[in-house]
Symmetry: C2
Subunit: 305 residues, 2 copies
């Protein structure tokens, strides 16, 4: 048991193209940090939620819910005082709520010397994520484990870190809003069998491409037939930005999570600036300001600070 513990968790791309709810990719750079101090009593207090729009009520704060779940998983009832530093935006599809939940779980695990394994930590972080974004692991798992992660099952937790050659990641943030709730409501309740099978084949191609280091195969798999078609209609400019990314040489491009952030993947020797510029220009042409970030994959996942 320690007096303090601090953990950082990176942002992530959910879905990664066709992998709706089942593929996620950890992104290097920005992330959320949660610092937990032990305090007398049994209360859970959020001193700083990291942003004025985020709740300090510990039963509504993703990091605090995840930390409380860890505490409860090990039968502890010590008091905890949290300070959250948000490096990720509150919305936009960069896995901010998941990063806070993961950092909360990892920090609590460290504070308590609890030694929970990845599956147990994910189950705890899922309680936090579920409070704001639904019961999905496709942002939580990469934020915890780093890299590209396959979510085979949420209950029981069954996630697999996949090998993946180094890639450049381009994130483009258009000046538009799409609530996760609306993006999810747009999803079809059922899909034609042929679409389901093509989607599965594309996900399988991405997974095989990643495992075998075959980037052309990975590229051919980045083709979402279920979520992207309906969400693209809610995201003016996206279809043109995606087209521009591919024309500029990207391996693939799609919506990050529920959007509105768009992403593109590129080889290390591709001209990522050109891809980013082309995507931003496509949004501008659609009447939307946008800015781009060029980064890479976070291979490490959540870590103590």
């Amino acid at each position: 048991m320690h007096d303090h513990a601090t953990a950082f968790a990176p942002g992530s791309i959910g879905n990664v193209g066709p992998g709706l709810d089942i593929l996620g990719l950890a992104i290097a750079g920005a992330g959320d940090t949660v610092e937990i101090a032990r305090m007398d009593g049994t209360a859970m207090v959020v001193d700083d939620a990291g942003h004025p729009d985020l709740p300090t009520d510990p039963t509504a704060n993703t990091a605090a819910i995840a930390a409380a779940a860890v505490r409860s998983a090990v039968g502890s009832s010590i008091g905890m005082r949290l300070r959250i530093t948000k490096g990720l935006p509150l919305s936009g599809g960069q896995g901010g709520s998941a990063a806070s939940a993961v950092a909360g779980a990892v920090a609590a695990n460290a504070l308590l010397d609890a030694g929970l394994d990845s599956a147990a930590l994910l189950a705890c972080a899922l309680e936090g994520e579920a409070a704001v974004a639904g019961r999905h692991l496709d942002n939580l798992a990469p934020s915890l484990l780093g890299g590209l992660v396959l979510v085979r099952s949420v209950s029981p937790v069954d996630v697999v870190r996949l090998p993946l050659p180094p890639l450049q990641v381009i994130l483009v943030h258009p000046d538009q809003r799409l609530r996760t709730r609306d993006a999810r409501a747009a999803l079809p309740a059922s899909v034609p069998r042929e679409v389901a099978l093509q989607q599965a084949a594309n996900i399988a191609a991405m997974v095989a491409g990643a495992c075998l280091g075959d980037l052309e195969l990975l590229s051919r798999g980045i083709d979402d037939r279920i979520a992207e078609p309906v969400r693209a209609s809610l995201l003016p400019g996206f279809a043109a930005a995606r087209r521009a990314a591919l024309d500029a040489g990207a391996l693939g491009s799609s919506i990050s999570g529920a959007g509105p952030t768009a992403f593109a993947l590129a080889r290390l020797d591709d001209d990522a600036s050109r891809i980013a510029s082309a995507m931003v220009a496509a949004y501008l042409e659609a009447g939307l300001m946008a800015h781009a970030t060029i980064t890479g994959i976070d291979d490490e996942g959540a870590r103590r600070r």
Copy 2:
């Protein structure tokens, strides 16, 4: 150009669990052999279809259709005389029609020194397969390439041979009939989104398990939520046989192609006889005679003889 050419192509398991239309596995042992002799004129003649129930009409025979497609692909019009030796049963879900088509295409390619690549050969074999079993590559591709094959796309042909550790394959043939047409008609036209995503996650787990040599992951992925539930109701005894295979230690078990053959996969050090006996006993208990074959994976695929 040669006077004679002979090719052998192995049988295969289509679907391989959740991989409806997109995963196939080549099976060691039985296969079909096609011998083609050059003859004067431009006719295509089937001297021996290999079984009295198979057509000698070259426009209805899968091997002859595939051979004619190769001939046409290279702009030739030489006469061909075919003799087919059926090592595989005519029906039952062991990829017999696909093996004949592949062997016909490979033999014609050799006879003509045509040098067609795998994708071109598959496109030719597909013409034969489509005449009797639909436009699917999940038997053709493993029969041609060997091993476990992912079919990412039929048109254009995009198939990927996946690495796979050596496994034992148990095939169990119950004394029942299920026409491929009826088995396909039972498939739902659409599937709930959650089922589609779980199916995709399971296929992805199989692919990752194969590529990474993680047999436990492969095992967890062998769980078909789309075809098996509806086909199992048409195949008395199957559900019990599958359960018996898993209880006896199999990595996984499902219907081979459209059935009625059932299959189980097992590690090299598993007791395959015990798995086979348990499956046969389950069919007997359901009132059906059944017999089993214990074999392995055909890693080589179609080859000249």
